[in-house]
Chain length 293, copies 2
């Protein structure tokens, strides 16, 4: 089948590669055209615009940076949505706002197109291995068409509900728990040091004794040994925290912890840490404010 | 060898049982004497006072409720410390303040006795299986004597340092991360519900996608399905949070997250939840304040 893929950052390229290996007729587009070279060499067609990519395709996958990029690529005049055939399915893999996800559902419905929210958990190396975890939501009949494609690049998925934005809401709720883990570990590591305890030993002990989580271990290591190339940045972490808070506010739920995490990341940004690794920069900021930095 | 064991709550009884099975000459004491019956039936001697238990023993283990109980049982005139022979080792298994742990080290040193901090992670059922995780600290020569006994009722241990109170500090730092997990999950579960997402599905998805932690799974289940008999209570959680904050303050480390957790537990207590399960009661309190309770 013909699949269009818009957005070939590290995540998008890896996922598009898996779809291509599945034997599909893949058409790719990216703002920076050089990012399409590798997939083109593997047999993908390269479109000159989002609309050209979407024309005549059965599935449209997007992995774009943020809400603004989605509006520009999808919803502007001559964007992909107007070019997408009736009956086609748009699968949004990105972490976007709940509000934008609702809007995309409406825009597609008004054109007799289908829309699925399917944001992914995992870093680029996990995407390359085809082992992302996907949270997916949308009407069952559309899900049935999409799930085999999603399974081709994931280790598992959670079906959240029948409304696409629920998948995006869950993704933001997952990222909130990552931020909460980072914030808690930051305070715990600073405390450990204040008690004359080696922070690395503290981390190992609490993970052995309690969490037994590869995720705590990996993030803790990043915090204690900041990577030269950040995974996600403080700026990206702050963006997702803002989207989490906005979704909660729209549904009248209080988020005092997320509010305090946002404030910490705002202070970290003002202190020049905006482009540092989300976890390592957060810890650095907390440590510095405690006078130990 | 002759071992005295003071404090036969659910945790203490289970641990003392393992020491007894190790073939040692065990002398037990408990404030409520009926708690000694089962161990006596298995061959333990029952002492009529802490001092009588400590007299002539090589090791003294304590698993007592709180700082106040330690002062009364150990440090009051005719308490166990004055009765303990020169050269004997006191192993404190309880979660006590860093300050009390320092004081016990001084009291024992002044009597040419030895002192080891060895607080345990795990609930009574884990203690019964002999699978606690122990954080232990003290001088190496004393550790060498104690480790074989600790290994007889644990699945593993972390050696924290040469000062006994470091083990107690680490235990408080571990309990802080449990509270942080409970607080984060509480806010996340309330958020999920506000987004029309089944909280149980949210919990399962984030653990599958991210943490892959049996600990998150177990605590999340307790939060969504409050137990009829609480594991630990809000009151106990608040006590450990207070000890964490006091240890941090004494070392000039800021703990804004722990401060907010304490405030939440104080509000929960005022709302009548003091005796409810630590995790389930915390969630109930957060949910109620968000208008969803």
């Amino acid at each position: 089948m013909r699949i269009a893929f818009l957005g070939l950052g590290k995540m998008g390229s890896a996922i598009a590669g898996h779809l291509l290996k599945g034997g599909h007729d893949l058409v790719v587009w990216n703002r920076t055209i050089s990012r399409t070279d590798e997939l083109a060499a593997q047999g993908a067609k390269v479109a000159s615009s989002p609309a050209q990519a979407a024309t005549g395709c059965e599935f449209l996958f997007t992995m774009l940076m943020d809400d603004a990029a989605h509006e520009e690529v999808l919803l502007h005049p001559e964007g992909a949505v107007d070019a997408l055939p009736t009956g086609a399915v748009h699968v949004s893999l990105s972490t976007i706002s709940v509000e934008l996800s609702r809007r995309l559902a409406r825009e597609h419905a008004s054109r007799n197109q289908h829309y699925i929210g399917a944001p992914v958990f995992g870093r680029p190396n996990v995407a390359a291995e085809g082992k992302l975890w996907i949270t997916v939501a949308g009407p069952q009949s559309t899900l049935d068409r999409v799930l085999p494609l999603l399974q081709s690049f994931s280790r598992g998925l959670s079906v959240v509900g029948s409304e696409p934005q629920q998948a995006h809401a869950l993704k933001l709720g997952g990222n909130f728990l990552i931020t909460a883990m980072i914030a808690s570990l930051s305070e715990g590591l600073v405390y450990a040091e204040s008690q004359g305890i080696d922070p690395a030993l503290y981390l190992e002990a609490v993970n052995d004794a309690l969490f037994q989580s590869p995720f705590y271990q990996a993030y803790g290591k990043v915090m204690l040994n900041p990577p030269s190339i950040p995974g996600a940045t403080i700026t990206l972490g702050a963006k997702d925290t803002r989207l989490f808070r906005e979704a909660a506010v729209a549904s009248h739920a209080a988020t005092p912890l997320a509010d305090s995490f946002q404030q910490q990341m705002d202070r970290a940004s003002k202190a020049g840490l905006a482009d540092q690794d989300w976890a390592a920069g957060y810890y650095k900021s907390v440590k510095s404010e405690s006078g130990l930095g």
